[in-house]
Structures are given as C-alpha cells and as structure tokens.
C-alpha cells in the first residue's frame, strides 16, 4: 500500500501546489518541498521492511481492466527501492534548485515537477506492463511542459525534440508490450500484462528479436545511447535547472532500469544474441560522446554529452550480464544520478548568476567563487572516476564484469576513462582556472554558493563518498534482485562468451 501512497502523495501534492499559487506565489515551492520530503520519509520506511518470498518489500495488486488482464500491480524489491530513494532524494534537490530560479507560473511548474516524479516512481515500481507504459507516458508530458515553458532561448525546439524521440520510441515499446500480451493469450488462453506471467511467454527467432528491439529502442532512447541520444543535449541545455536535475538524475535511469528489469529478462535469448551489438553501441557511446563533449562550448551541452558517455558503461554492464557487471551498472546509475545532477545544478547556478553558458567567455572564477570552484572540482573528479567516490565503483565493476564477457569491447570502452579526464579537467580549466575574465557578461551577481546551495551540494557529496567508500550498503540491496534475474539466464550469456 505504501507504494500507492508514495505516488498519490506526489499527484495530490502537485495539484495542491498548482492551486495554492492563487493564494500566494511562494506557496507552491513550500508545498512541493513538504511533499517530496514526506515522500522521502515514507520511502525510508521501505528500508526496514521485511522482504516477502520473492524479495518484494512492498507490493499492491488490484484489478484495473480485468477484461484485458490489466491490473494495478505495483511492487518494489531492493533494486526498485534504491531507485525510488534516488528519485526521492533528487526530488528534494530539484525543488531546492528551482527555489529561487522559477518565479513565473510557479504553481504549474511544481505541479509538473511533482507529476514527473510520480511518473518516475510508477515506472520503478510497476509490475504490470500496461501500467508501466502508463507511467512511462506520465513522466513524459509534464517534462515536456517544464522544458517548453520554463526553458531557455530555444525551448520549443528542444521540448518538441524530446517529446518526439520519447513518444515515437515509446510507441514501439507499446507495440512490443501488446505483442507480448497477445502471445501470452495464444499460449495460455488469457490476456495478461502481468510481469511474472509475461516472463513465461515463449517466443523465439526473429519475432523475439523484433519484440525485444521495441523495448531496447525505447529504453536506449531514454538512457540514452548512440544513436538515439540526439534529443538529450538540446533538452538539457534548454531545460531549467530543476528539469535538468530530474532529467539527468532519474529520468535517464528509467531507461537503464527498463533494460535490467524488462528488456533482458523477458527476452533472454534475443538479448543474448543481441548483446555484442548492444555492447558495441555502448562502447561507441562512451568514446564518441566523450569526444563530442570535449568539443562543446555550451557547458550544459558538454555535461549532457558526458552523461551519454557515462551511461554507456551502464549498457555495457547490463549486456555483459554477470553479477559484477550488473552491480556496476546499478552503481553507475546511482552515482551518476548524483554527480550529473550536481554538475547541472552548478551549470544552472552559473547561468542564473551571469546569464551565459558559454565557456569561452568564462575563466578564473576560482578566486571569485571559491566554494563553487571546490564543489565543481569535486563533482568533476567524481565524474572522471576517482576511486573513493561512487562513480568509480560503478564504472570499475561494470568494466570488471564486462571484461569477462567481451575483452575487446571492454578494452575499447576503457579508453573512455582517459577521455573522461580530458574533458572533466578541461571544464575546470576553462571556468575556474586561468586569469579572471568578465568582459562578456555582467559579473555583479557572480556570488559564491549560498548556505542553502551548500546544503544540497554537501548532501550529494556525502552520498558520493558513501557510495565510494562503503558501496556495500547499496550493493547489498540490489544483490538478491540481480542474482534472481541472473538465475538461469547467466549461463545463456556465458555460453556466448565461450563461443
């Protein structure tokens, strides 16, 4: 029942926030903050819950459209809980980052923000594929509004691009879901969208491959991976800071989650034969987007491309499909969620202060904003995979596992570690090092991080150090889930490696 609460609190909170703007324009942000904090507190109770036999710490199932075998089925296991917590945590951070930035139509803004979060929570908890698709759409539309209304100079183009990419690939997934339900009907005489039922559906050959691809393309568009990443740089550079935080921090992770939960387990054989291609795409994402990132002058575009590059390690880990690789993918999701969100907040903070995202105009900010410089250095260093911080654990485990599945692609992907250091340190050089430059903008508002901002960044820093120094807290939660998913399918993948 708690899962229903988690989602409905956000839905209701969103509506109240919208309405409250009429009373006082400062109410929506306050209500949003209370809502996300309440949600986060509720999530923490999931940590103490006793798991049931299947490892589910919470679940709720009710008929929705029984005629078509569609049920309102939500459940969370360790993997879901980790991602729910990430969403809750970044939800708070996102509200915080919007606090001073969003002045116009704030009621509708927080409504959209909370509804996006609700959609994300639903995605991470839905075990009925129709319901899953429903939530997949729920997160899309409010996000579209966030970019289109509160975005920057080219917002309509970016919002439309985001919408089309996600919508078109979402339709492919819907077709695949319907096909799967149809095959369940053919094989068992009843229609079902239940995850556990669909796991038993036998498909084979090119048909299985086509259905799998529907999922794969939808998920790797969200992730994103080359060649479906083109929407991300525009969406990120145009979105308001809170939008970027949600987008990079949690929305991308729904794609990764989908791969782990649905794309591979539902179609183990197709995924197995597809794995080399997926891993190749991953390696291309890592290197190609790292290279494109380096060339960017718009700081948000740069971070967006690095996101694609880092998400390549997730794809690589998922399709290596062994315990180390999968844990690496999960840790990368969590750690990148924090580090990318923080980097976008820094970029957003800078844009808010000096009204530009163009790095060639910046330089030598260290002396002027030392706290911001240190924070930026921390997250850049985290992003380039410094041991002791969370991102390292993720990428190291992903590569360690991938090495056992495909040596060549792992070696190629490892070059991403070098390129990551090239672009990360370049950003620090351009913005914070060198002589102080302020000829291109008015620096009267270039002030150091406020106490409130330091609280958010501090929390994210603690998170990354925790993940880096004692990742066991997180690994232990996802481990039983991953082992269950691997059970029976790992051998399939291992057989491919042997050949």
């Amino acid at each position: 029942m708690i899962l229903v609460w988690l989602i409905s609190i956000l839905f209701v909170g969103g509506v109240i926030a919208w309405l409250s703007e009429r009373i006082n324009p400062n109410f929506p942000r306050l209500i949003a903050l209370i809502t996300v904090l309440l949600d986060l507190a509720l999530m923490l109770t999931l940590l103490g819950a006793e798991p049931s036999s299947g490892g589910w710490v919470a679940s709720v199932e009710a008929d929705w459209i029984p005629r078509f075998g569609i049920s309102f089925y939500l459940a969370a296991d360790g993997l879901s809980v980790l991602l729910l917590l990430l969403t809750g945590f970044l939800g708070v951070i996102a509200v915080g980052s919007a606090w001073d930035e969003i002045k116009e139509r704030s009621g509708f803004f927080y409504f959209n923000l909370l509804w996006t979060l609700a959609g994300v929570l639903g995605v991470f908890a839905a075990l009925d594929l129709f319901l899953f698709f429903f939530f997949w759409e729920v997160m899309l539309i409010p996000m579209y509004f966030i970019i289109a209304i509160w975005g920057h100079e080219n917002k309509n183009y970016a919002a439309m691009k985001f919408f089309i990419f996600t919508q078109v690939t979402g339709m492919l997934m819907l077709v695949s879901i319907l096909a799967l339900a149809y095959f369940h009907y053919v094989q068992n005489g009843v229609i079902s969208f239940n995850y556990h039922d669909l796991l038993t559906v036998q498909t084979s050959g090119s048909l299985e491959m086509w259905i799998m691809l529907g999922f794969f393309i939808a998920f790797t568009t969200k992730l994103p991976s080359v060649p479906f990443h083109a929407w991300l740089p525009d969406a990120h550079s145009q979105a308001p800071t809170a939008g970027s935080v949600i987008l990079a921090g949690v929305l991308l992770k729904t794609g990764a989650y989908g791969l782990i939960r649905f794309a591979v387990p539902l179609f183990p054989e197709a995924s197995m034969s597809f794995a080399p291609i997926a891993m190749t795409l991953a390696a291309i994402s890592i290197l190609y987007c790292a290279k494109v990132a380096f060339a960017q002058t718009d700081i948000k575009r740069l971070i967006a491309y690095t996101s694609v590059s880092h998400m390549g390690f997730v794809t690589l880990g998922v399709y290596a499909w062994n315990e180390q690789a999968l844990q690496g993918a999960v840790m990368t999701m969590l750690a990148h969620g924090l580090s990318a969100a923080a980097l976008f907040m820094l970029a957003g903070g800078l844009q808010h202060r000096i009204h530009t995202r163009s790095m060639p105009d910046m330089g030598g900010f260290w002396a002027k904003v030392p706290r911001m410089a240190v924070v930026a250095l921390f997250f850049s260093v985290a992003a380039l995979g410094m041991p002791g911080l969370g991102n390292f654990i993720g990428e190291f485990l992903a590569l360690l596992g991938a090495f056992q599945a495909n040596i060549t692609l792992t070696v190629v992907s490892a070059f991403g570690l070098i390129l990551a250091s090239v672009y990360s340190l370049w950003v620090i050089q351009k913005i914070f090092h060198g002589e102080y430059k302020n000829s291109e903008f008015d620096d009267s508002h270039l002030t150091d991080l406020t106490r409130r901002e330091m609280v958010y960044f501090g929390a994210m820093m603690i998170g990354l150090v925790w993940m880096g120094m004692y990742p066991q807290s997180f690994l232990a939660m996802s481990q039983p889930v991953l082992l269950e998913l691997l059970n029976g399918t790992e051998e399939l993948f291992a057989a491919v490696v042997q050949n």
């Binding site: 090495f403 102080y436 004692y470």
Partner: protein, 614 residues
C-alpha cells in the same frame, strides 16, 4: 600497536578534512601545525609500528578494517598489509614527507592559499600511504589515482597561469593512459585468477601459470603500463618536466621522493608476476636503461634548475627500473630510498635558491652563490655527491648494487652494465655543471640575494636530509623476506675501480668546463652538429613534438570537425526532408478544379499503363 596501522593514512586524511572544511579561515600557524603535524604523527606511529614489526620477527602483518565491496567473488577490503617492502615505503613517505611539510611551512609562508596547499599535501600523503599499504590491487589503485589527483592539483596550484594548468592536465592525462592499462591488467588478473588480493593473486599465478605463460606476459605488460606512466619512464615520460610548474616542495615530495617511484613499488610488489613473464621483466630493464640514458642527455642541455633535477629524477628511476629488470629487487628499492633522501634534498635546496633569488630558475642567471647561500651550497654539495654516487655517500651504495647485479646477468647484462656506467658518467657531468654554474663563477643574478631565504623550519629539514643522504647507504632494509635471499654478485676490483672512477671523470669534465674553464662550451657548440644535438636534446628528444602530432592534434581536429554531432545532423536531415516533402505536396493544393481533374486523369492513365504492362 601494529593493529593501529590504519592510523597512518587517517592522520593526514583528518588534516585534509580539517583544512578543507575550514576553507582558509584558520590562521597560518594553525594550518602549519595541522598540515605538518598530521604527517609528523603518522611518522611517529610508523616508526613505532616498524620497531615492533621488526622486533616481532614476523614476515608480514595484515590488518583488515572493512570490506570495501563484495560482489560475487570480488571482495576487496580496506585492509592493510605490512612487510619489509611496505615498511620501507611507509617510513620514506612519512619521514621524508614530514621533513618536506616542515620545509613547506616556511617556503609557502607568503602564499595566500596556504591552507589549500597543505590540504592537498595531506591528501597526497594519505593516498600515497594507501597505495603502499593496501593488501589488494584495488586499494592500491585507489591510492594510485589519489596521488595522481593530488599531483594534478598541486602542479596547477598557481592556477592563474594557464601554462600551469596545461602542465597539470598533461601530467594527469598522460599518467591516466598508463593507469587505464593498469586497470585492464586488474580486470585480466581477476578474470584469470579470481582475486585481486596481492598475495593470493601472486600465489595463484605461481600455481596456474608456468614461466612465460601468455596471460602472465599480458598481465605483467599491462601493469608495466601503469608503472611507466606514474614513474615517468619511456614512453610516458613527457609529463614530468612540465610538472615542475608546481611549488618546489611538491617537486620534492611528489615528483622526486614518493609518487614517481610508485611504479617501482608496483613492480617490486608484484615481482612474482614479472618473474613469470621474463620477456616483460627484460623489457623493464631495457626501458630503465634507455630512459636513464635519454634523460641524462637531456639534463646536459637544460638551463632551468628544476628541469635539470626533473630529468635527473627520470634518469635515476631508470636505474631503479634497470634494477627491477635484472632481478635485483632489493637494490631497486634501496636506490628508491636513497634517491628519496638526496633528491628531496636537492629539490628543497633549489627551492631555497629560487626564493633567495626572487623566483629565478635559470641557472645562467645565478652564479657565485657559495658564500651568500651557505646552507643551500652544502645541501647541493652533499646532494650532488650522493647523486653522482661519490664513494660512501648513500647513492654510491645503491647504484653500486644495481650495476653489479646488471654485470652479473647473463645475456645483455654487459650492455646494461656499461649503459648504466655511461649514465653515471652523464650524471656526473650534468649534476656538477649545475653545481659549478650556480655556486661558483661570477654572479649574474638580476637581483643578487641579500641573505639566504628561510628560517629553522626550512634549514632544519635540509640538514636532516644532508645527514640522511650521507649515511642512508648504511641503513639495512629488511627485504629478504619479501624477495627471498638475493644472490651476492661480485665484480673484479678493476671493474669496481672503473665503476667508481667514471662518475668522477664526469665531475672532472664538468669542472674543466665550468669551474676551471679550461675548455669552453662555446667552442664545443660551434659545430652545427653540436647545435642540432643540443636542440634535439633540449626538446627532450622530440617526444612532445611527436605526441602532439600523433595524438593531440588529431584528437583536437576530430573534436573540432564534429562539434555539431554527426548523429544529430542525421535527424536534422530527416526533419529537412520531411519539411521539403511537405512544401512540395502543399504546392499541389492549388485550389483549381481543372488541376485536380488533370491530376486524377494522369493518375488513372499511369495506373492503367502499369496494370497493362504487368
């Protein structure tokens, strides 16, 4: 006390945190106490632990603190491993490290970012201790990357000058190339042997692989990649001279005494693996030999006091690699220790010279400093003698061991031996070239020093390092349990005399040029061949030039031509095509009935034609 070994990195880590969290609000003397004191505490703890460890007679000691992560069979922990090798390393790091911290409290006294400096320094010491004390390769890798980060931060410490930033990034990226190879080595070792605990891994390697096994060769090669990056050996040596952009205490601590020798430590630590891959071990020796010679020639042509010392460091680490390559493991570590003493001494003394001359680094703008800067003078004298292996200084004993071991090797042993002796000859020339030019002759300084810069906090460490450089060769280091009883090599008395004499001849040649001025450099440089060679060596044998063209420029070019992202262009093309198609179709909607009628008629004709033809 031994179980408190985890305190060693903890003290400087706490120092780092204290300095970072107060972010420059503490007064300088408090910063100095925290910065240098934390390392001093580490040294005291290390000394007590070392004494107890040696008294216990045990071969090794393990302290498990916590499991870092447990993923299947992969279970690296925050566990500390102490044996003779890590004992030497921890004493060098904390001992020399403490002296350098002390010195830095004076050297950096006028710097506005005093606190930031010591926070990085403390973080460095903590990371370096993790590197040498970790019982598994993942923890070692944590320290390895950590020291690389601190190196980056400290080379670029004076960030307003973009050149420093460039040098810092170059150092980080070039070493990261090696680090990535090393990471792949870890993946390979784990995939094949199922553990990254160093001792278990080596044990498994001995059981699984016979000598010359292809996997052992691959693993050793990959680890060697990491080692050459960190230790500035061929082909990843180009970053070290630029790293001199950092404050001089950094050059002493990171780029002479500790971090750059991490590669030597790594190879010594995994020496069993290298013994299983003799071809790679031989490669280590060749890399060492070639690097020590190339760096020696470069050092002859440099004029920046710190760059000369940097190339000298590269060259001396070449000797350590040579030692490892010929299987003289203990000799390599011995030279690592003595080098830490005398090179730290030389760097710190050069720091005093530089500050006394108001930040002058060009040796040709110095001269006649013997009387003005007595502490620096004696530091340089002793350091230079040790560096040139003058009999009974510390450097003499360690270099002697290396050359004798090379001499005793079958096959290319004689090449290594004579190459090493040639290197010692070059060392004699370039070291005393610097010494005579800086301290003798006429003063060419723009601002001649009134007095020597530095109080007791700077001179004290110099004096202690002078003593260590003199007597360090008599220290017995307990490495037999780590590497096994090493073979005693012997050379004939004549050969030994030759080894001792050659560096002295080098010193003599230097004296003839730069002290007695019997010979003149101008005459030597008159020929065009000499000038070409000078130019070539001065540029570091053109490696930067080559790497720029092979790696840097193509990458920049690729980045530039595809800034807009090809893939995005593809989607934009689709949009353009559909727009164009749309506008074409829109044009057909003219609103004239006769046009529509004509179109329909034409369509019918086409369809009928197609139907008939089929």
């Amino acid at each position: 006390m031994q179980e408190f070994i985890w305190l060693l990195p903890t003290y400087p880590l706490l120092g780092f945190l204290a300095l970072v969290l107060t972010s420059g609000r503490l007064p300088k003397n408090i910063v100095a106490i925290i910065g240098a004191g934390s390392v001093g505490l580490s040294f005291l703890t290390a000394a007590i632990i070392a004494a107890q460890f040696l008294a216990s007679g045990e071969d090794y000691f393990v302290k498990e603190v916590w499991t870092w992560m447990a993923v299947g069979d992969f279970t690296p922990g925050f566990n500390f491993y102490l044996d003779g090798l890590s004992l030497v390393m921890m004493l060098v790091i904390t001992g020399v490290g403490f002296l350098i911290h002390m010195y830095a409290t004076g050297y950096m006294a006028d710097d506005p970012s005093y606190s930031r400096f010591f926070s990085y320094m403390n973080l460095f010491v903590a990371a370096m201790l993790m590197l040498v004390l970790g019982d598994n390769l993942v923890l070692l890798y944590l320290g390895w990357e950590g020291v690389g980060l601190c190196s980056y931060l400290l080379i670029g410490f004076w960030y307003t000058n973009p050149d420093n930033g460039y040098a810092a990034r170059k150092a980080f990226v070039v070493t990261r190339v090696g680090d990535t190879a090393m990471a792949l080595g870890l993946f390979l070792l784990f995939a094949e042997l199922g553990t990254l605990n160093i001792q278990d891994m080596l044990h498994a390697a001995e059981l699984e692989w016979e000598v010359g096994n292809g996997l052992a060769v691959a693993a050793a090669l990959l680890l060697l990649g990491g080692a050459v990056g960190k230790s500035a050996q061929l082909p990843l040596q180009t970053w070290l001279p630029d790293a001199m952009a950092g404050p001089t205490p950094i050059s002493a601590l990171i780029h002479a005494a500790t971090m750059v020798t991490a590669g030597v430590y790594l190879i010594a630590r995994t020496h069993i693996l290298f013994e299983l891959a003799p071809s790679v071990q031989m490669l280590v020796a060749w890399i060492g030999l070639i690097t020590l010679l190339l760096a020696g020639f470069i050092a002859l042509t440099q004029s920046d006091i710190k760059r000369i010392l940097a190339f000298s460091t590269m060259s001396q680490i070449g000797y350590m690699f040579l030692a490892l390559g010929v299987g003289a493991w203990s000799a390599g570590i011995f030279h690592l220790m003595t080098h830490a003493f005398f090179k730290a001494l030389l760097f710190l003394a050069s720091g005093s010279v530089i500050l006394s001359l108001h930040h002058e680094q060009d040796i040709f703008k110095m001269g006649a400093l013997r009387k003005k800067l007595p502490v620096s003078f004696f530091s340089f004298l002793i350091g230079s003698l040790a560096l040139t292996a003058f009999p009974f200084t510390s450097g003499y004993f360690s270099k002697d061991e290396i050359l004798i071991a090379a001499h005793g090797l079958e096959g290319p042993g004689m090449i290594f031996f004579f190459g090493g002796v040639l290197g010692a000859f070059l060392t004699g020339i370039y070291t005393f070239r610097l010494f005579f030019i800086v301290f003798f002759g006429e003063s060419k300084a723009a601002h001649p020093p009134e007095k020597e810069y530095g109080g007791w906090n700077m001179n004290g460490p110099l004096i202690l390092l002078m003593i260590l450089s003199l007597v360090g060769g008599f220290f017995a280091i307990p490495l037999d349990a780590v590497f096994g009883q090493h073979e005693e090599h012997h050379v004939s008395t004549l050969m030994h005399g030759f080894m001792i004499a050659v560096p002295l001849i080098g010193i003599g040649i230097s004296a003839a040029f730069f002290y007695f001025k019997i010979w003149s450099v101008e005459k030597l440089m008159a020929s065009s061949l000499a000038q070409t060679l000078h130019k070539f060596w001065h540029s570091g044998w053109g490696f930067d030039w080559l790497y720029d063209r092979v790696f840097v420029f193509p990458f920049l070019w690729l980045a530039r031509i595809n800034k807009a992202d090809l893939v995005d262009g593809f989607y934009a093309l689709i949009v353009e095509i559909s727009r164009a198609a749309n506008s074409m179709i829109v044009k057909t909607q003219t609103g004239y009935i006769r046009w529509y009628a004509l179109s329909i008629a034409a369509g019918v004709v086409v369809l009928i034609t197609v139907g008939v033809m089929l």
